[in-house]
């Protein structure tokens, strides 16, 4: 019997999306670590991620 190991490999598009979220997260973390009040609210986090991970990229794509 031969064991086959398979890995669920993300596509290039998946990685590009993930990279975008990582950049947004890096900025969020930098702001939050220096101005801690920024981390307290889920709603602030929700608004932040919708703006940075969806609204801005959508706007840039439309303008390009």
């Amino acid at each position: 019997m031969r064991l086959r190991v398979s890995f669920d490999v993300p596509t290039r598009r998946d990685l590009r999306v993930f990279g975008g979220y990582c950049v947004a997260a890096a900025v969020y973390i930098a702001i939050g670590a220096t101005w801690i009040d920024f981390l307290f609210s889920f709603w602030v986090g929700l608004a932040y991620v919708v703006i940075t991970a969806w609204a801005v990229p959508t706007l840039v794509r439309r303008l390009a």
Partner: protein, 239 residues
């Protein structure tokens, strides 16, 4: 208490249930036990008044107090109410699962939760110190120095390992289809924004975990103490 697990657990639960649960009430259920109480545990300034519980641990987890919000009976009662009011069994059950996850996770600290309220026994593993009574900043420093933050990290890693649960195709095939809430919201909000909203709690929990860790250990140099019941440099509350 947990600082990020309640944001992250719903994704792990979702991965194993797929169509059987609705994500939004699952997340609301996961947040619900602390929704009414956290502000009074840490205290707030309201004009000339300082509002804070005289015994935060008792108020948060005990009886008399709001500890019943961390019990199974509370989850079932609110879940049944949601079922009755909104006419959605799916929303009611999903809320219950999320609330149960919160109540069980919080048994990890030194105060624990009254899972079987009205029996007021506190189920507690005592793995990390409950330090809500010391104020928000010291509580954060303690939490992110002990095993509680490692428990959160398990869910961060598990979420990243189960990355498919965060993809737009997963959202389309499972999350969107499972719950009429998403098509309803889709009347006004584009699909791309809905996917981002779905991912928001994972983003929030993971980013906040990293930011608090940086704040506690890079900026302020609080010592790590991953021993059972730690960190022992903070006075832990007990039931």
């Amino acid at each position: 208490m947990s600082w990020a697990a309640h944001d992250l657990e719903p994704y792990a639960i979702q991965k194993h249930t797929k169509l059987k649960l609705a994500f939004v009430p699952l997340l609301i259920g996961s947040y619900s036990p602390d929704m009414m109480t956290k502000w009074f545990v840490y205290g707030i300034h309201l004009g000339p008044w300082d509002l804070k519980a005289s015994d935060p641990a008792q108020f948060h987890r005990g009886w008399p107090g709001f500890g019943f919000t961390h019990s199974f009976i509370y989850g079932v009662a609110v879940g049944l109410l949601i079922w009755k009011v909104f006419g959605s069994k799916l929303w009611g059950v999903s809320f219950i699962v999320g609330q149960f996850a919160h109540a069980i996770t919080d048994t990890g600290d030194t105060v624990g939760t009254m899972l079987l309220f009205p029996w007021t026994f506190h189920f507690h593993l005592g793995a990390w110190a409950y330090a809500g009574q010391t104020g928000r900043m010291t509580d954060a420093a303690a939490y992110f120095s002990g095993l509680g933050s490692m428990w959160d990290l398990v869910f961060v890693v598990y979420g990243l390992w189960s990355w498919r649960v965060l993809t737009s195709s997963y959202f389309d095939n499972y999350i969107y289809r499972a719950d009429a809430f998403w098509p309803w919201l889709n009347r006004w909000v584009p699909r791309g924004a809905l996917v981002t909203v779905y991912r928001a709690a994972f983003f929030y929990g993971t980013s906040r975990w990293i930011a608090w860790t940086v704040w506690a250990h890079v900026i302020h140099h609080y010592p790590y103490d991953l021993s059972w019941g730690g960190p022992h440099w903070v006075p832990a509350a007990h039931p």
